[in-house]
């Protein structure tokens, strides 16, 4: 996924689609039209409720329509001659790699939390993140990992009695 993200972002940038704000606004317009159209389509299935003067679908439908119209306006305006274009400050190749790695780490952190439990995934995430981006000695990352989970455990779990996914430790 990491590799694919970098490749996708890189190719979009290379073909110039998202290199400038014009491309960015066009892409945003398309995204908003899709979201608006989904909202509009979903609104038509909303049932009528009892007791209200306003049909429950009115607001979702109005917002969906606004997004479609606004998205279309963004695309049209981005293509007009009076549009003042400028480059988007995208990262370089190494930056995209870091971006992708960080995102994948966060996604794995969230995905593994119900399986391995909050404490263990937090430890792995903190140590891996510091180890990868920090260029510190391994024991530094390890110490921060232990310190973080100890703090979280004592404050949130023991003192505040909050419940987090226990994962394998629930067994």
């Amino acid at each position: 996924m990491d590799y694919l993200t970098i490749r996708l972002c890189d190719s979009l940038w290379r073909c110039g689609l998202l290199k400038t704000l014009r491309g960015g606004d066009t892409a945003s317009g398309i995204f908003l039209i899709i979201i608006g159209a989904i909202a509009l389509a979903a609104s038509t299935t909303i049932a009528e409720g009892a007791g209200g003067r306003l049909h429950p679908r009115t607001l979702p439908m109005a917002i969906g329509a606004l997004l479609v119209i606004g998205g279309a306006w963004l695309i049209v305006y981005a293509r007009s001659p009076q549009y003042r274009d400028k480059e988007i400050d995208w990262p370089d190749r190494a930056g995209w790699r870091n971006w992708g790695v960080a995102l994948v780490m966060m996604v794995l952190y969230a995905a593994l939390m119900p399986v391995l439990g909050f404490i263990l995934t937090t430890f792995i995430f903190v140590v891996t993140f510091i180890g990868y981006f920090g260029k510190f000695k391994f024991w530094v990352a390890l110490a921060w990992g232990f310190g973080t989970v100890a703090f979280i455990y004592l404050l949130f779990i023991r003192l505040l009695q909050m419940e987090f996914p226990a994962g394998v430790f629930a067994l």
Binding site: L21, I46, G52, L54, Y109, M113
Partner: protein, 502 residues
């Protein structure tokens, strides 16, 4: 007896060792709760409520009240230091406070935040002391049409919050509204945009959205450019200077009064007041171009409004037993646990208790200032932690904050999704603040609109036939018209009011 005599008696009671001790415990707990993202005063008071049963009513209620207003002091800390607004009311603080921190001025921003919280909190308590019976009528004057008009006025701020990217601001707000209306219709209970997913029935909370938009997108932005630390400048200031205080005292007072009056309206959350104070300050500021780029008066205005709203909320609570928000509703539960019913009867039957609580709020404000000012330097040193270490901590605490709202994994996924959306919004020049404001106002806007239309049997004229709502509507329409006029008529890049995109 007059208010002065009652207040003196209240102080005599509030200054007893046991009341002082529990005020201090409440202030410390409140500060801690405020600092931790996602864990609000409502949860903290609810958690501590059963533990207070062993106490007499005065120290128990003093402690719970202190947690409530103490949380307002701490709420700005993570917003300024690491761009994590733990609640919606801290969003405008994060916008300018984090910029100040990157400029090495996190310490002064935290210091000003503590001082303005003290000033505005005290304004609120003075208002509560001397004008409560007079001002309490405001709470009763608000019905659904007035709430709708107020929410509409709040939404009109989108125009100025959008800066020069008006269309993008409006679209961001529409997207925010769309996310907020997912779930059950507030009046009829019909499921909307849930796509048959039971998890979506309860809707999407705006706190994970805010955390994603600010904290996660900030982490992504920092890793892409291999940032070693969040400080752009190595010159660091630890405490506010007299110049900072001199430049912000006006904002402290203005936001204090605005926040107090808004706090009188039940249901008006500190988030709405914060955005209004931010917008007001930008309009009257001598240097509006700094807003969004690190304006100290913006931090002062938002924090002042936040705290004064909290104090103002005690007026309808003590006068009529009407809680302004969820935290005060739990506090009301605390009163009831002792067989006390806040309202006119409490004022006549238990004046000693009431004035003890009010006096304790003066003392609590001083305690919070004394507690928070020395902590400023300690917190500010967080900016020295290298980003590769700070980054995962930001993510972990953001996840905790989001998860602790409803204990659902869905909220963590929402944080991540909106983290990526926030990142792209920043790259494509979409202002984030209008989206947050719309998401926060959506419930109030929709519920009051539906209730108003039921009252008026479907006529929208109801908003223009009641004195308070018509004033709000006209002010909102004026703001909208003025904002659009400025956009159309002023092509210059130097439109001070409209320049900064936030």
């Amino acid at each position: 007896m007059d208010a002065w005599t009652m207040l003196a008696q209240g102080f005599a009671s509030a200054l007893t060792p046991i009341n002082l001790l529990f005020a201090l415990i409440g202030c410390i707990a409140g500060t801690l709760v405020g600092v931790l993202p996602g864990l609000g005063p409502t949860a903290a008071i609810a958690m501590l409520l059963p533990l207070t049963t062993m106490l007499p009513p005065a120290p128990a209620i003093i402690m719970m009240a202190a947690i409530y207003y103490g949380a307002m002091y701490g709420g700005s800390t993570t917003a300024i230091l690491v761009n994590i607004p733990g609640e919606a009311s801290s969003v405008p603080t994060a916008i300018d406070g984090y910029q100040l921190n990157q400029q090495g001025r996190g310490g002064p921003a935290l210091g000003i935040s503590a001082i303005t919280s003290f000033v505005a909190g005290t304004i609120g308590v003075v208002g509560l002391t001397f004008f409560a019976p007079l001002l309490s009528q405001v709470a009763l004057a608000f019905g659904p049409p007035e709430y709708f008009a107020l929410a509409f006025l709040g939404l009109s701020l989108i125009i100025s919050l959008s800066g020069r990217a008006l269309v993008k601001g409006i679209l961001a707000a529409a997207f925010g509204l769309l996310t907020a209306i997912i779930g059950l219709d507030p009046l009829t209970g019909v499921a909307r945009l849930t796509f048959g997913q039971p998890l979506l029935m309860a809707g999407i909370e705006f706190v994970p959205i805010i955390m994603g938009l600010f904290a996660i997108s900030e982490v992504l932005l920092n890793v892409e450019s291999s940032v070693r630390g969040i400080l752009a400048d190595q010159k660091i200031e630890w405490l506010p200077s007299w110049q900072d205080i001199k430049e912000t005292w006006g904002a402290m007072l203005r936001s204090g009064f605005l926040g107090f009056f808004m706090g009188l309206i039940p249901g008006c959350s500190p988030a709405v007041t914060s955005f209004m104070a931010y917008d007001l300050e930008r309009r009257v500021s001598k240097h509006p171009e700094r807003f969004g780029k690190g304006a100290m008066d913006a931090v002062a205005a938002v924090e002042g409004a936040n705290n004064a709203t909290a104090s103002g909320g005690f007026v309808p609570l003590f006068s009529f037993g009407i809680p302004s928000g969820p935290a005060l509703a739990v506090l009301l539960g605390g009163f009831m646990m002792y067989g006390l019913q806040p309202g006119p009867r409490l004022m006549t039957e238990q004046p000693q208790l009431l004035w003890t609580i009010i006096a304790s709020m003066y003392i609590g404000n001083v305690m919070l200032l004394v507690l928070n000012l020395p902590l400023v330097g300690v917190w500010a040193r967080m900016a020295l932690i290298p980003f590769p270490i700070l980054g995962p901590l930001i993510v972990a605490f953001t996840f905790i904050g989001a998860y602790s709202l409803r204990f659902q994994m869905l909220d963590i996924w929402i944080v991540l999704l909106f983290g990526v959306i926030g990142y792209l919004m920043r790259k494509f020049g979409f202002p984030v603040a209008p989206m947050v404001l719309a998401a926060v106002l959506a419930k109030m806007l929709e519920t009051s609109l539906m209730q108003s239309l039921v009252i008026s049997q479907g006529s929208a004229l109801i908003f223009f036939t009641r004195p308070i709502s018509v004033v709000f509507m006209l002010v909102a329409l004026f703001f909208i018209a003025r904002g659009i006029w400025l956009q159309v008529k002023t092509p210059s890049e130097n439109v001070a009011l409209e320049e900064s995109d936030v």
